[in-house]
């Protein structure tokens, strides 16, 4: 199962440490146009939402790439880009439902989250534990557990009111 970065928007405070750490890790400079994760302020929802690659099981970008520059890394199961094959044709831009792919401004190939070879820097740098790396099946587990806790809190409140 694909490992990916699970985002909990409730905890994100928009400090962009993840974005800064990401470009620092990959390009040795702090540059928000070279980052592969960017927290967006959504006024209507009233939340910061860090958007990054969801490491899909059947990635559309992998299918559409005319140069087979996108492949699944065996070790980290992350979807990675081969810099030499990628010609920067932006076909993956169109199909990615999350709008994640970005062209590296100076080097001309597509950059996306590659889980930093297994230990993502954004997760380490996030002070609010809004980001965590999980296998996709235990992500579902974690979501179910959280939902259960919320439900339980709710029932307690109701019983409190009732008594």
């Amino acid at each position: 199962m694909n490992k990916f970065i699970l985002v909990d928007p409730g905890k994100c405070i928009g400090c962009r440490s993840c974005a800064l750490a990401c470009s620092f890790e990959h390009d040795d400079e702090f540059n928000l146009s070279l980052t592969r994760i960017s927290p967006l302020w959504m006024t209507e929802i009233g939340r910061f939402i860090p958007m990054t690659c969801q490491q899909c099981e059947e990635p559309l970008c992998l299918d559409v790439c005319p140069r087979k520059a996108i492949s699944a890394d065996k070790k980290t199961s992350a979807i990675v880009v081969d810099e030499d094959l990628c010609i920067g044709c932006r076909a993956c831009f169109l199909v990615c439902p999350f709008g994640v792919p970005v062209i590296h401004r100076n080097k001309g190939y597509m950059i996306k989250c590659d889980l930093c070879g297994g230990s993502p820097q954004c997760v380490e740098e996030c002070s609010q534990q809004a980001l965590s790396t999980v296998e996709s099946d235990d992500a579902a587990l974690r979501k179910r557990r959280e939902a259960a806790q919320k439900l339980q809190a709710l029932t307690e409140k109701i019983s409190e009111k009732a008594s």
């Binding site: 409730g10 405070i13 928009g14 400090c15 400079e29 702090f30 146009s33 009233g46």
Partner: protein, 647 residues
């Protein structure tokens, strides 16, 4: 250059000339950045005695060397110019993303000269800098302008500095809005921008910032973050932001109630304490790389102002609107704050001026028909109406727009009810009930009646100040905390007496002023957890890792002192006298009517005595406060000093 973006953008609005000047290494090594270099540029680019609202004044945006990197809270940018309100050094800082975006676009400083012949806005996209027509934006409030600009640029990622109607109509205390909810508010920078017919600056930067030693930098930045998280103040400020201190000042009876007439509000804690925050917000908002996240996104769900969405249940609006103007409920406070933001007006000065008017009305010193309508305390609609009138200089607003001091003089011939020092309306709590480094700092602050540049990093808010002790404030932290304070041993022993019960106010004043000057110069946050956690040694480590300089704690504090003295010299050049350093008359004449510090008033001789000792401690002349030659030589401020001493 490492850490720095490496250049200064000089825009002359009169001729339309745009120039990119390199930021030299020695300018950086001497004045460090942001506030420091801003003051130096202001010194060099203006003559003494110019009219702050003329084309001769310059408006300078500055971002420090650490801004835009992963150093926790490194985001502050400073705006400086000659202040139209105080006539002295106008400087004000604000966080969030404008500073970083400036540096990503490749500029440490943006210096704006001259005056445009029609409303314009400055559009900066990396190297492409254009002066674009802003006639369609002129007259709009800041929120509308930002929406229009975001539409024009088809992106919500642009960073905008914009003035509202106040700036356009040259209101002396108008602010420059940093995005919709923050501002470079104090000392009237908005009027300077408005006098140049510059409606906004839009920046979009796609460059990057490199640092000297990647591994060391990563380690230092993580350690800094951990130190902030381990600070005793972290828990409270992270949960309630600056509101954490709201309750305490209520306990001390130090609230600026109804223009400082009294210090106590009974239901203060229930209606405007930090607990109120939970009803409004569950979303924290942080500056870049900050683990604290002290701001909150507030949504007013029901009531007269339902649907209002604004960031910032902060101590300043709650104290100024809640206590000084006596507005009772949080909804009303947020609505007034929103109007202040939309019109681009400084909340502190605005409330100080309106409070003065309301007190004159309460005391019958001004009739209702000169105002045109009653102005009772705490009425939200009236306050909002007054703010709009001020921003458009309508009716009484035209008089109030000149600031509390001049408005008081114009209305009653004296300035008894203008709570200002050197023309700047003072902020938050009442000095009579809480005497500390913070309150004495309001006198010594280089930008007038304000405390954000002179607060004690290790202030203990659990103990009230001792009634007649002007020289010390309570310390009372445990041994283990004392040892962790980042101060050289010899200085620490002199400032905090060995039994750890009290702190010497004057010595701590000098230390904290220099330290905060460094904080502002490199762009990190001066709120409690960050201010207490960071110190000269940690800052030196950060500068080494980021800039590659070999610099120690010693030189860091020297730089801080140099920047403080540079500001002092500028003020002296612009005519600041020792007599200006006076509290508002009320604090000397009237005793506090109620609260724990009932019957307290400030003894002018004690204050004068302290001022002499402070000047002495600073190495300035005891009487006039002009820096002595020895100190100038030590700090290397020779040429600035000459232009002051022999004009």
């Amino acid at each position: 250059m490492l850490g720095y973006a490496g250049s200064i953008l000089i825009v002359d609005l009169s001729s339309g000339k745009i120039e990119k000047v390199p930021l030299t290494e020695d300018m950086a090594r001497k004045y460090l950045g942001s506030l420091g270099i801003n003051a130096k540029l202001l010194f060099d680019h203006t003559r003494a005695g110019i009219d702050p609202l003329s084309a001769e004044n310059v408006l300078i945006f500055g971002a420090g060397p650490l801004v835009g990197t992963l150093i926790p809270t490194a985001s502050k940018s400073d705006v400086s110019a000659k202040s139209p309100l105080t006539g002295l050094l106008g400087t004000t800082s604000s966080g969030y993303h404008f500073g970083s975006e400036m540096k990503y676009a490749g500029y440490d400083h943006i210096l704006i000269k001259g005056k445009a012949n029609k409303p314009v806005y400055l559009a900066i996209q990396d190297d492409v800098v254009e002066i674009r027509d802003a006639s369609r934006l002129w007259g709009k409030d800041t929120w509308q302008t930002i929406d229009l600009l975001q539409e024009e640029w088809k992106s919500e990622e642009i960073q905008v500095a914009v003035i509202g109607q106040s700036g356009e109509n040259l209101i002396r205390f108008s602010a420059i809005q940093n995005g919709k909810y923050d501002a470079w508010a104090r000392t009237g920078m908005g009027a300077v921008m408005g006098s140049k017919l510059l409606k906004a600056i839009v920046i979009r930067g796609k460059g990057g910032i490199r640092v000297a030693d990647k591994k060391a930098f990563k380690q230092v930045s993580r350690e800094m973050r951990q130190m902030i998280i381990d600070s005793p103040f972290f828990e409270a400020v992270s949960k309630y932001g600056s509101m954490a201190a709201a309750g305490v000042y209520g306990k001390f009876g130090a609230l600026p109630v109804k223009n400082y007439q009294t210090g106590v509000i009974e239901d203060w804690f229930q209606t405007r304490g930090f607990k109120v925050l939970e009803q409004y917000s569950d979303q924290k908002m942080a500056c870049p790389a900050c683990p604290v996240g002290c701001a909150h996104w507030a949504v007013v769900k029901e009531g007269a102002y339902a649907g209002l969405k604004i960031k910032g249940i902060e101590i300043t609006p709650v104290f100024e609107i809640g206590a000084k103007l006596f507005v009772h409920d949080m909804d009303g406070i947020l609505q007034c704050a929103a109007i202040f933001h939309r019109t681009g007006t400084d909340i502190v000065s605005g409330c100080g001026t309106i409070a003065m008017l309301m007190e004159l009305y309460q005391r019958g010193l001004i009739s209702e028909d000169t105002i045109g309508f009653p102005v009772p305390w705490g009425d939200v609609e009236t306050i909002c109406k007054l703010i709009r009138m001020i921003s458009k200089r309508e009716g009484i607003g035209d008089i109030l727009a000149e600031g509390a001091k001049k408005a008081n003089l114009a209305l009653t011939g004296n300035d008894d009810y203008a709570m200002t020092i050197k023309g700047l309306e003072i902020l938050s709590f009442d000095p009579r009930s809480r005497w500390s480094v913070w309150t004495f700092g309001i006198l010594t602050n280089t930008r007038g009646g304000d405390n954000l540049r002179t607060r004690n990093p290790v202030e203990n808010l659990r103990f009230p100040s001792l009634p007649d002790d002007y020289r010390t404030e309570p310390f009372g932290f445990p041994e283990e905390f004392y040892n962790k304070i980042d101060m050289p041993e010899n200085v620490k022993r002199k400032i905090i007496n060995p039994d750890r019960k009290t702190t010497d106010i004057i010595l701590m004043e000098k230390w904290s002023e220099d330290l905060i000057a460094i904080f502002n110069a490199i762009g990190i946050c001066t709120r409690p957890p960050s201010l207490q956690a960071q110190g000269p040694t940690s800052i030196a480590r950060m500068l080494r890792a980021c800039l590659g300089w070999n610099i120690d704690a010693e030189e860091v504090m020297l730089m801080g002192e140099r920047i403080w003295n540079l500001q002092r010299l500028y003020n002296l050049r612009e005519g600041e006298k020792r007599e200006d350093s006076l509290f508002p008359k009320r604090f000397y004449r009237e005793k506090l009517p109620d609260g724990p510090a009932k019957g307290m008033a400030i003894d002018p001789d004690q204050v004068n005595q302290m001022l002499d000792d402070y000047y002495e401690a600073r190495g300035w002349d005891r009487k006039t406060g002009v820096p002595k030659e020895a100190k100038i030589a030590e700090l290397g401020l020779g040429d600035e000093w000459f232009s002051v001493v022999l004009p």
